[in-house]
Symmetry: C2
């Protein structure tokens, strides 16, 4: 298995980035990641103001997947996800939903121990390890790793975890895949602006799908399928996510648009991923039993 270390990171997804590794479809790679602060916060006493804010959200990569070309889909299966044993959270003025109530930047170290995040003596939180930043080079200008979009990026979505398969639209030759920004735990919304940020290691397997397209990243797991949309507002993102999902499923069925819309209203779920990045991210989720009943197999 190939491995990639944190020696090679990017701070923006871009078609102009030089790949640091070339792989074939079917290859599996083990990728080491910094936390979103490039592991800069290592003690409780450390002044958050001492952080170099130019080194935020490093993503390890980019990886060139042979054969991936504009208009294809890059399939990425997350085979495994390991996280470090030291988490950190931050919040402060102008950050997150509660920024107007904060007087200064604050950080908090959160040890990861015995499968729990030790918030304090009272609060031992369950873990839901996940990948915050994951994606490919975008279509146009470079996009900071702190911002999500159709190329993926900082989608901060809980479902992006071990066992999930993601499908990204490919905009650049080789796709130029990278990932980083793992969280030991995060709730939908990520309301403070950070999850429990941790370094880690992901094992992923790549494939290239020719002749099928999606405008937005799609995630498949054992529970169902989700379409991930980032936009300026939640309201806008929801409208796009619902319509794109309906248009994704419709050609696989005999249902009319009205019937499919009713079905999605009865059984589909409109969910929030994060509300604190430069664009917000939502997902529209359809349970696997609906896909199975309709005999829908996506992207095969």
């Amino acid at each position: 298995m190939k491995t990639l270390s944190t020696q090679d990171v990017i701070y923006a997804f871009s078609r102009l980035n030089n790949p640091v590794m070339h792989v074939q479809p079917g290859d599996t790679v083990s990728i080491e990641t910094y936390d979103c602060f490039k592991n800069q916060i290592s003690s409780a006493d450390q002044e958050v103001s001492a952080i170099d804010w130019n080194e935020i959200n490093p993503a390890t990569g980019p990886i060139f997947i042979e054969g991936a070309a504009y208009g294809d889909l890059l399939k990425v299966t997350i085979d495994n996800l390991e996280i470090g044993d030291q988490g950190v959270m931050v919040t402060g003025p102008e950050l997150g939903v509660m920024g107007h109530r904060m007087e200064k930047m604050e950080s908090k170290l959160i040890p990861i121990k015995d499968g729990k995040a030790i918030f304090n003596e009272q609060l031992h939180l369950p873990l839901n390890p996940m990948i915050g930043v994951i994606g490919v080079a975008p279509e146009g200008e470079p996009v900071s790793c702190g911002t999500p979009g159709a190329h993926g990026g900082n989608m901060d979505t809980k479902l992006i975890t071990k066992g999930a398969t993601l499908y990204f639209p490919v905009f650049a030759e080789g796709a130029l895949f990278a990932l980083g920004d793992f969280h030991a735990a995060m709730g939908d919304g990520e309301v403070s602006v950070s999850g429990i940020e941790v370094p880690g290691r992901a094992t992923v397997t790549f494939d290239v799908i020719k002749g099928l397209h999606s405008k937005y990243p799609v995630l498949q797991n054992a529970d169902g399928v989700a379409l991930l949309v980032s936009a300026m507002t939640l309201d806008e993102a929801v409208k796009i996510a619902v319509e794109e999902m309906i248009d994704l499923l419709l050609p696989h069925t005999d249902l009319t648009v009205s019937e499919m819309t009713m079905l999605m209203s009865a059984a589909g779920e409109t969910q929030i991923s994060q509300v604190v990045d430069p664009l917000v991210t939502v997902r529209f989720f359809v349970p696997q039993h609906v896909l199975d009943s309709l005999d829908i197999k996506l992207f095969v």
Copy 2:
């Protein structure tokens, strides 16, 4: 046990409505409800255009709870929820997220059979029976039963089901409680503008809590606590819901605002209830294990 039939319905929550029943704190009432179309759609051939749109979202009530006064909380526990065996969905132009793709109003009858909603021969959907409209008289002008708000109303929230306890701010003497608009199944978002609409019967127990207040409805179930906020946009509703929840929990803990915000970011969930009513509804949810760890018991 007292019972209330569909003979007494309102189409707007209002402090000016005449109560049709008086109960004491601790009383349990069995309340019969129409579906949101007042059971007007009874055959597949029926023209939706024949519906009387003045008779939409009837709520059975209002019930005067003795002792409930401005500034109190009305506690309503949903002891039981029964639904009819004939569901109906509608969608059409200008309705829901996909209204721009619809050419005409359409309805669809959906039998409820053997614990499933029979969408068609292929699709037998699991049920999640819930109450769409539930609330008390609002503070100011009457509010249509189709619109949600701080008084409750058309919140279309999946969590409002058997076993849940709701806390409503009381704005009028006796609270003037009513409910209706049951769904046999609905996904978060209610994207077509309707769930699987059914008539039914709810059994609820009332209590009045003096000296404690909440600006918005709060829901407690076995999984945790949710604060329900309706606003013009999802983005606005999310901001309010997160801050109100933090202010609800903070006085019960030794945490700072920064710490509580981090905790909510790691363990709280920002969730969408519906995106299709005149105001949209979101909820911020905190798992019970967090409340238990902090030894927080709300409204006792």
